[in-house]
């Protein structure tokens, strides 16, 4: 359902348009009303940033770091030719010796999360474990995006 259609249903009196999938972020970004309960239904895949920079195992860390910074990011994911996540580079890993290959610098086999997991639960776990970001992948390991804790908390926790 398109955001406009959902908003229209609401103005027409269908107050509980909850099964709005895939575009909840657009809806929120557009400033349309969201209820507290909606935030409990948001999924990790909705909030994961799909444009996270990617690199391959043999790339030079210095080159990747330049590219990541130029794009305004502080993290990157190492993937294979199929888009399967092999490693994670947060600011700490990106700050290592620029002459290292990605496979020497990355955190190999990071914990990944499925797109359908509740953003609310993710926000809780990310806060409890002090994680700034977590990769979201399909069940066969393919990259969906990078979920930031700030996004998980903002969109997954009901406003106080």
């Amino acid at each position: 359902m398109a955001p406009r259609a959902a908003a229209r249903l609401e103005t027409l009196g269908f107050g509980q348009v909850h099964e709005y999938r895939g575009g909840k972020l657009d809806w929120m970004a557009a400033g349309l009303p969201t209820e507290g309960e909606n935030s409990l239904h948001a999924r990790a895949g909705d909030a994961a940033r799909k444009d996270v920079p990617i690199c391959s195992l043999t790339d030079r860390l210095g080159d990747v770091r330049d590219r990541v910074k130029a794009a305004g990011w502080d993290a990157a994911l190492a993937v294979d030719g199929e888009g399967v996540v092999l490693g994670l580079l947060r600011s700490k890993e990106l700050a290592k010796d620029p002459d290292l290959r990605i496979e020497q610098a990355m955190r190999p086999g990071p914990s990944t999360f499925r797109p359908y997991v509740s953003l609310h639960e993710m926000a809780h776990f990310m806060e409890e474990h002090d994680l700034e970001s977590s990769p979201v992948t399909t069940s066969d390991g393919k990259l969906v995006g990078l979920l930031y804790r700030a996004d998980a908390v903002r969109l997954g926790m009901p406003p106080k």
Binding site: R107, S111, F113, Y116, M122, F125, E128, D130, L131
Partner: protein, 51 residues
């Protein structure tokens, strides 16, 4: 590699490192099974009354 053994806060199972953050100093260690269940990636048990 340092093989530190920690225990899952929820089920008490001994694991190498917290499955969520992989931080040896984690204070809320959770194992892979408990994390999967908590995030709804896996069902804890088949439902008894078939619901």
């Amino acid at each position: 590699m340092i093989a530190l053994e920690v225990k899952c806060e929820k089920c008490g199972k001994a694991i190498d490192v917290c499955d969520m953050c992989e931080d040896p100093a984690c204070k809320h260690v959770v194992c892979h099974d408990c994390l999967s269940v908590a995030l709804g990636e896996r069902r804890p048990q088949p439902h008894e009354h078939g619901g």
